[in-house]
Symmetry: C2
Subunit: 200 residues, 2 copies
């Protein structure tokens, strides 16, 4: 039992490194970049608070579990901003292979039953085929939009994003899991992009 606890504690201390992985998105007040640890907390809170937006059959506790785990591979790979390299870097084969190796290393710190459980939950999130994973992905995509709206543009300005690009890279995935949430957000995002055009 002690060896099991050794492994659990070693994993929890390793996970602490996620607090030092910085994302493209900032805090809502624009004061600094968000890290992937606090981002994961914020997403789990999104799931709690927006549970009534999940389609029937979604298990919100599994969604929360996915969101708590989903970025741990970034300890080795770093965050790959969605809008970087004109939107092409995020899902590339190289990044996926690196993330898979990271998952082997990081979840492999745990006792094998827990490692298998958490790794398969992470893979389910990545594949985005089940109802739980599709809803979890929609929250992961929509939170940065809210952060950018709150701070006045954020990573949209940095990566010179257009509304059509936002619709394609973000809107489609949010709408797939949480259509009414995307309707709410799209109205506000459209207004931001129109105002930016007028002021340029």
């Amino acid at each position: 039992m002690t060896q099991r606890l050794d492994q659990q504690m070693a994993f929890l201390t390793e996970a602490d490194k996620l607090k030092s992985v910085l994302r493209a998105t900032t805090l809502a007040d624009g004061s600094r970049r968000e890290n992937s640890g606090e981002h994961s907390w914020h997403l789990a809170l999104y799931a709690l608070v927006l549970a009534d937006q999940a389609p029937a059959g979604v298990d919100i506790n599994r969604v929360i579990k996915m969101l708590l785990l989903h970025d741990l591979v970034e300890i080795d790979v770093g965050d790959v901003p969605l809008h970087s390299q004109n939107g092409l870097a995020h899902g590339s084969h190289d990044i996926q292979a690196a993330e898979s190796a990271a998952a082997n290393r990081i979840f492999g710190i745990l006792p094998s039953d827990l490692a298998d459980d958490l790794r398969s939950t992470w893979e389910e999130f990545e594949r985005a085929e089940t109802a739980d994973a599709i809803f979890a992905k929609s929250l992961d995509r929509v939170q940065p939009v809210l952060q950018n709206l709150a701070c006045g543009g954020g990573s949209w300005i940095e990566y010179n994003v257009t509304y059509d690009q936002l619709e394609g890279r973000v809107g489609a995935k949010v709408a797939r899991g949480a259509p009414r949430v995307w309707d709410w957000v799209a109205q506000r995002a459209k207004a931001w992009f129109i105002n930016r055009k007028i002021s340029q």
Copy 2:
């Protein structure tokens, strides 16, 4: 429905402020103070990974929910370090009253059904009477011990804490909810305090 979503989104943006509340504890590498948002994520991960340490009857999903919410009142009140003012500030009447007012304001941003649900969950955590809340509290108390062990002392040095004080302020509460976890941690903490005495 739009008004409901307005309230949910306003709450989620307000919650972002927890990422700017700093704690006495540092990251495991000692590089900076931990904030209460990333701390809440870390605790939810503790619950996932240490679920097998919970007494029978504990609902780990409710524990995770409590841990995601437990520090939101700090947006208004700030973090009150456990070892500050010789351990007396943390549970004081003034702090409890301020936290209760903060809970009214912050959870009150939500639609009333959600506000009632999240506020009563937060109160259950604070009272620490149910099995779920007792286990959640034990994780909240043990994580800073792991952080201090990882970074070489951290807030124990800052507040000049003795092993007996740690045992009283922390150990009793961890042991109440997760006795084997405390046994594991106490061995390592004792060794740290003994080594510190020798080197002084």
